[in-house]
Symmetry: C2
């Protein structure tokens, strides 16, 4: 029981060309050699590779996690075969310039490409994706010497990359890291410290592993302002940049995770023998700022991945619901009638529609975010560029947190559709559910995202992002020409007003002693804001679908568009009103969670 269709054939063309108008990017110099045809060819390649080389070992890798024998990390061969195919395809460099050996593709298209891999096999996909994320940082902030040393071989996947941020005693609290980087006479640094949860932290897939390590340079400022970023390779580079001796980076052990089991997760010790060479990226003490500047992309990546694992669970349970017969549905509900496929039962329809709303909502949301990056990058008008940048900054916590909250909910419903079968490891629903449980935790827990929203992003640059969002939403709502979508917009309208009132209320509360309630109530604000944003994202989809429905005579396409309209209706009727609770809580300055004392538990 495993469908080989990773993503519905109509889905990505709909998102990219009907909702987002991605072709218009080709009007810009950077993408002028591209067209819908080249985009589609790249996406088609991704689909085939993901289906043929990533999907088949998703379950096998889960059952056979990487092992460390004290010397080397070993894993099933399928991972390396898939990784090699990925790097040979040039996808790691997909977003980089032709002159760097890249494909000069828009973020929107690269995100779509990533969708196939995340749906097929998130844990094998992590290796090249983490490498791409590391390249992103190096390319923006490292000096030419470091770029030359690492980037070309990272772009081809000969070297892989990691992010080494977390330390055992300080998870989300990066201000408290202990790892140090000490300047030597020759201008290089020696790194010393311990890091955990380093995904892809050790393996034999590549010739070298480049760890991007957060560390403190002794004598620097305290707290988050004194954190620097260093590239620390597993193997040192010789003067001619060829791979040299082992650096003083030791694998302390592998962590045993609940899911994502194919991705090695390492505890690493840097400088146990005081000889761990590191290369400073950019200026001293600016490391955390660099990481934050690259965070928008990384967080969209996590959100989109969560949506795609949710989507795969949805598709898998959909196939099951079509095949599996059980019970009767009126008017054929006599004992002698044949049992009906469970997809005809009302409660199963509800669970499938919810999964569709969550996963395709998250997918569309993150593609919108990726498209914002492209619009920012190609924008000539400085004011518009600033507007879009503020909008992206505001949306980033939502792009990460909403899909990683609702993707797992989809996977939970996926198990429930399968019933007893869903509770066995003979079916895959439980793996999707376990894999996706990571996403509310990493790349900033969803609690951290809610704090980012309520304490920073809502107010950043005098709430400029919020005003840009408002005008983008209003523009879309005014452009609606179809009846069903118009009805949805009418239902959304009062909530837009309530969102505005809530923000005004919060801005006042922040000046009073009631401000202490906000950290405990941050999740309520995230619910309100994210649910309104995703409602808008669903209205955008419904609007496009309803228009196409009027034009199309192809039954399959009509069905697809009807499904989009119905999922949007579901979101507006079933999900949007859930924020009434949150609006009330914030209006009341509810202090129930704030006031609970540790001794009361």
């Amino acid at each position: 029981m495993a469908t080989d269709t990773l993503i519905h054939d109509f889905e990505l063309p709909f998102q990219l060309y009907d909702v987002l108008n991605t072709e218009s990017l080709c009007e810009h110099t950077r993408f002028s050699e591209h067209s819908r045809e080249t985009f589609d060819a790249v996406i088609d390649t991704a689909n085939k590779m993901a289906t043929n080389l990533f999907l088949p070992h998703n379950h096998i890798a889960d059952k056979n996690e990487p092992k460390f024998d004290g010397k080397k990390v070993s894993m099933i061969d399928d991972v390396k075969i898939a990784f090699d195919a990925f790097r040979e395809s040039g996808f790691i460099a997909g977003r980089y310039s032709f002159e760097d050996g890249g494909m000069q593709l828009p973020e929107t298209v690269m995100t779509a490409v990533s969708g196939y891999f995340m749906a097929a096999n998130p844990s094998t996909t992590a290796y090249p994706f983490l490498t791409a994320a590391a390249i992103n940082v190096i390319s923006h902030f490292a000096n030419d010497s470091i770029k030359d040393a690492f980037m070309p071989r990272m772009l081809t996947g000969d070297f892989t990359g990691t992010m080494a941020l977390t330390e055992p005693h300080a998870g989300s609290s990066l201000a408290d890291i202990h790892t140090t980087a000490t300047l030597q006479r020759d201008g290089s640094y020696r790194v010393k410290g311990s890091k955990i949860y380093i995904s892809g932290g050790d393996h034999e897939l590549s010739d070298n592993i480049v760890h991007l390590v957060l560390a403190k340079i002794p004598g620097g400022p305290g707290g988050v302002k004194g954190i620097s970023l260093l590239a620390v390779p597993k193997y040192r580079l010789n003067d001619d940049n060829s791979v040299g001796d082992r650096n003083d980076v030791q694998l302390a052990g592998l962590l045993h995770k609940l899911g994502y089991r194919g991705t090695s997760s390492a505890a690493l010790t840097f400088g146990e023998n005081n000889d761990c060479h590191g290369y400073l990226i950019g200026e001293p003490h600016f490391g955390l700022r660099y990481m934050f500047m690259m965070m928008n992309e990384a967080r969209i990546g996590v959100g989109f991945g969560a949506a795609m694992i949710g989507y795969r669970g949805f598709q898998y349970s959909l196939d099951f619901a079509k095949d599996r017969t059980q019970g009767r549905v009126a008017p054929n509900n006599k004992p002698e009638d044949a049992a009906a496929p469970i997809i005809l039962h009302g409660d199963v329809k509800r669970m499938l529609l919810a999964q569709k709303a969550y996963s395709e909502g998250g997918m569309s949301l993150c593609l919108y975010g990726s498209n914002l990056i492209d619009r920012i990058n190609t924008c000539i008008d400085a004011t518009e560029k600033q507007d879009l940048t503020e909008l992206l900054d505001l949306l980033t916590p939502v792009l990460k947190a909403w899909p990683s909250e609702y993707g797992p909910k989809a996977n939970d419903l996926g198990i429930q559709v399968l019933g007893g079968s869903g509770y066995t490891r003979e079916y895959y629903s439980e793996q999707f559910w376990r894999d996706n449980r990571l996403n509310p935790i990493h790349e900033g827990t969803n609690g951290i995202q809610a704090l980012d929203l309520i304490f920073r992003k809502l107010w950043q640059n005098k709430s400029h992002g919020l005003r840009v969002l408002k005008s983008e939403v209003e523009k879309d709502l005014h452009a609606i020409t179809t009846p069903e979508t118009a009805l949805m917009a009418k239902k959304l309208n009062p909530y837009l007003g309530q969102l505005h009132e809530t923000v005004v209320h919060l801005s006042e509360v922040m000046q009073t002693e009631k401000a202490t309630t906000l950290s405990a109530n941050a999740q309520a604000m995230m619910n309100i804001f994210a649910t309104v944003v995703v409602s808008w994202i669903w209205i955008r989809q419904a609007s496009a679908a309803e228009k196409l429905l009027e034009q199309s005579s192809d039954t399959q396409k009509q069905d697809f568009y009807k499904g989009k309209v119905q999922a949007a209706k579901y979101f507006i009727s079933w999900e949007l009103p859930t924020i009434l609770r949150d609006i009330q809580l914030l209006k009341d300055n509810d202090d129930v969670c704030t006031n609970v004392q540790p001794s009361w538990f």
Copy 2:
């Protein structure tokens, strides 16, 4: 990081004596030899046994699931040691009469006893508990000959029991089972068919396993009305009831589950060689009715177990949150200040308070249900007995579904409190989460529970149960004498009105063509009803706690009572208003889920 305190010392005394007045049961003849002291002694024994013999191997059994070598099922020794201690303690017979070798204990006390075992190790606990459930059926419906053959040795745990209901092709749809029971000339039956998901379906813990099998007697009525119940032992009994030869019951294989891994889950084949002896329980074709009559207890058991696994996850994450330091909390939020325990962070408080509200709410709800059984059993007045029976029937789907929906939510939050640690198998949060995922599925999926509520229980006996519930709730609300609880009652009041209006609306809808929307919207009705019921259950706890708070001078007790009041406030502020969405959906006769077509997905 594992607390040895399974349940807070004050919790069960509070539930049993302050909220439920369990001692008053001792006024009745059946329990006249008992007192609070004997109840406490039994509960204390359970606590010690669960802590010493069940808790230590909970994680080990998860990692070492039962194995089948083609002949026998083997498992780690710890399971048998714990099972033997349990059976030697007499707990399996706890609720039975002294004359049957039992302890003649009330259901309320037996449920409290079960709490320690469910919190400590749900999968080892399953073996004796399933046996108790099978005894319950046999004792009520089997003839004396069958009772004599099986019951005495089941009460001592020399024989264990199972429920063999589900067949591979028909999960929830028992009308469609294929297993047959054919009458022989000597009055015995031969059983033939396949069953799956038989928990405890095979093992070497006991001298015999008695399967309670649903089967059709050829020639009987079709559908659910033609289902009979048979006792089918693994080993036949000789004429003197001594254990004889193997019966024709074959273990086809063990299922590999997502959680509850210590409990063997079997696929069994009955009568492969046409020689499977079964003993009819009660009358032919009444099997399903018998099972339903025992369902109240079984469903309370599942709900209570789910609450207890949720509770254990809560306690585990609470310990973590007290120990783990990270970040700063105002006014000590300068980098040079020491890091704060994460329990001081607002969002962590929220996650802990939600877990407390879910797990203790479910616990209190199910203890209320068990107490109803005791009240019914000891009631002399026929009208009151009928009232309470209708109330229990009405509440049963909620007793099963609400804790098994919210216990797992607590476990999910438990992982989130641990952050990255929660995602590793080195910590236990993930096992609680996996174990508890079974509970929304078995003993009637939560979808089935919602259908039971909306199509049957709300209307049973002209909604008599609903009227009894209303008067019980009003009685409690009128008795409130403390200010905080009075405020909660005031907040609950309009929702009671809306629940009533919704039920009236539904009764009208059922007469129209809009009735087709109800199966897809059943979950919304369950949310409304269950949330109002649990709000009342929390108000009962708050009322008791606030009164005790006024009287108590012990700081630890005061803290405990304050925690109860705060969790109740949380439930009323954060959970109760979530049903505004559901009320609106039902008022609108929302047809979004009903109308979606399979081809639209």
